[in-house]
Amino acid sequence: MGASYLAVGWNRQKKIYDWLIFGFCVLYLATFVVLTAIFNPDYTFETVLIRATSTLAVIILHVILSIGPLTRINKKFLPLLYNRRHLGVTMFCIILVHGSFSILQFHSLGNENPFVSLFTSNTHFGSLADFPFQALGFFALIIFFLMAITSHDFWLHNLSPKVWKTLHMFVYLAYFLVVMHVMLGVIQYETNPVFIIIMLTGSFTLITLHLIAGTREVKKDNVIYKLKQDGYVLVCDIKDIQEDRAKMFCVDAERIAVYKTGGKLFAVNNVCKHQNGPLGEGKVIDGCITCPWHGYQYLPQNGQSPPPFKEKVSTYDVKIEGTHVWLNPKAYAEGTERPGAVISVVNAE
């Protein structure tokens, strides 16, 4: 979290992360290129480059898409999430090499503009066997390009979190395009089943991870709170919430985080303004609710980021009766100060 924009706010963790990305990429490329050269002495540089970069990019894409559900399943994966955009930009650079060389190789030096050639050479859009798969890869590349150039927080703030998040959810469309690009392209040429097995295993793993993570979320969202009075619903016992931590409740389609800190309970909207991170899984640090995804912070009593930051989330009323915590799901305007509920000495013990 920073008050001004830097290209990259380097710290030790980011440097380690990027060195690891670099090391893994070099290791993969070296393995692929050296083995191809040894076992295929008739190889051509262009083809090896196109294949090495494409396979590496597909592997990185699977890693990227698995990080989200993995962090939902186990929070220990959060360090992978924090700098995920570095992985995304790396993947885009690699896939740009693949795309550029492919367009150069297959469409340049002809009687047509290479980009026109891409869409007019093979026009069998109605045939699975002959489908012009390169166009699918091109559209995926465009999506990755838009995501890479808007990956910085500058764009997140200027496009608005909603637009930014929507744009970046297109990664799933891009993934579908990539899968079809592979299935309708190289898979139809190569005879070794290894390619299709790896591709299907990757897709199956991603779908499974998303289903597991999604099911957990849905379970939380579907909890029904039966006891209601004066607009409040009974959500839990005070002891269910740890000090400086929260529990998330979904009431009337509102995801609300109830925090216990400084002898009080506070309720704020669960969705972080940065990238929709789950504030309810955060922690109070230096008196601020801290988002587990990227460390964005909010004051528990009013949902406002401490100055000079300007992010705000909605606040809610919460009350304590006996040891029971009651929550009113009616949201106050973002940044509205609420008194919170005082935890009596008896309950605090």
Binding site: R12, F24, V33, R51, N122, Y189, Q242, G295
Partner: protein, 284 residues
């Protein structure tokens, strides 16, 4: 997880338990990456053995003919009767272009027709599987010499009618297939082959027999006209061709009958139309 442990990316250090966990994840990921690299590299189809002598210009002397495709007949020795034998070297242009433009420019420059004349051209050779082709690029100043007089070309053409044949195979562009690209065939190369053929490179039918041996046929229309545009929808896909075959020295030329070029479906051929229709319906 300990309540005290909380990961924040902008802090210098990650909590120990997070570091340990990510270390374990990376230890698992490392062999996965290596295994994937090994598997993918070793599972690729063997690269073709074609050669494109990129950057090397070779002078070739022979008799030029414009039909069935631009080519020069080059003396290859003598046959058992003591007569000179020739190999046919189809000519192609730079990039994804045929040689017609370059040859036309040279003829215009010299103000003569090269047809049937002895000519020395400088270009880049590409070859594979017993076939030799040459790229002539206007930027290389490809014309070294051309004789003024016509050679008696009747014997040189050495054509022989082989009758009507039906063959199944894949249409490729010979420039990529015989040397420039690997692979120069199949689905990944389809767009490139189409662009090359639309650019004037003569289409070639590659036919693989039951033993895996490959034969190559130049494709032209029934009257010897170019079929480059007509084959666009049939490139890099299984096709069946009904044509008059004519041996042209060491190449066979297919003079394709009208409607003699059809897509070929293995399923349709072996299991009949009903099965094929059912398959298509299932796919849909």
């Amino acid at each position: 997880m300990n309540n005290e442990e909380f990961y924040i990316g902008w802090m210098g250090e990650a909590p120990k338990s997070f570091v340990t966990w990510i270390r374990k994840y990376l230890i698992v990921l490392l062999p996965v990456i290596i295994v994937l690299g090994v598997l993918l590299a070793l599972s690729q189809k063997k690269f073709g053995t074609g050669t494109f002598e990129f950057g090397t210009l070779t002078e070739v002397k022979g008799i030029y003919f414009n039909k069935p495709v631009p080519n020069i007949k080059v003396v290859d020795g003598k046959n058992i009767f003591g007569n000179e034998s020739y190999i046919t070297v189809p000519l192609i242009g730079f990039g994804k272009h045929g040689a017609d433009g370059v040859i036309a420019d040279l003829e215009k420059e010299k103000n003569i027709s090269f047809e049937g004349k002895e000519i020395t051209l400088k270009g880049t050779l590409l070859y594979n599987d017993g076939k030799l082709l040459m790229q002539v690029d206007g930027n290389d100043k490809p014309l070294v010499n051309v004789s003024g007089a016509n050679i008696n070309s009747v014997g040189l053409q050495n054509t022989k009618e082989l009758g009507i044949i039906e063959v199944k195979g894949e249409i490729v562009d010979p420039k990529c297939f015989f040397g420039v690209m690997k692979p120069g065939e199949g689905k990944p190369h389809k767009d490139c082959a189409i662009r090359c053929i639309l650019g004037g490179i003569p289409p070639v039918l590659k036919v693989t027999d039951e033993k895996g041996n490959q034969n190559y046929y130049l494709i032209v229309g029934a009257n010897g006209e170019k079929m480059n545009e007509a084959v666009q929808d049939y490139v890099a896909t299984p096709v069946e061709i009904n044509a008059r075959a004519v041996a042209y020295g060491d190449w066979i030329v297919l003079y394709v009958h009208p409607n003699g070029l059809q897509r070929y479906s293995y399923i349709q051929q072996h299991f009949g139309n009903k099965t094929a229709s059912c398959g298509v319906a299932c796919l849909k």
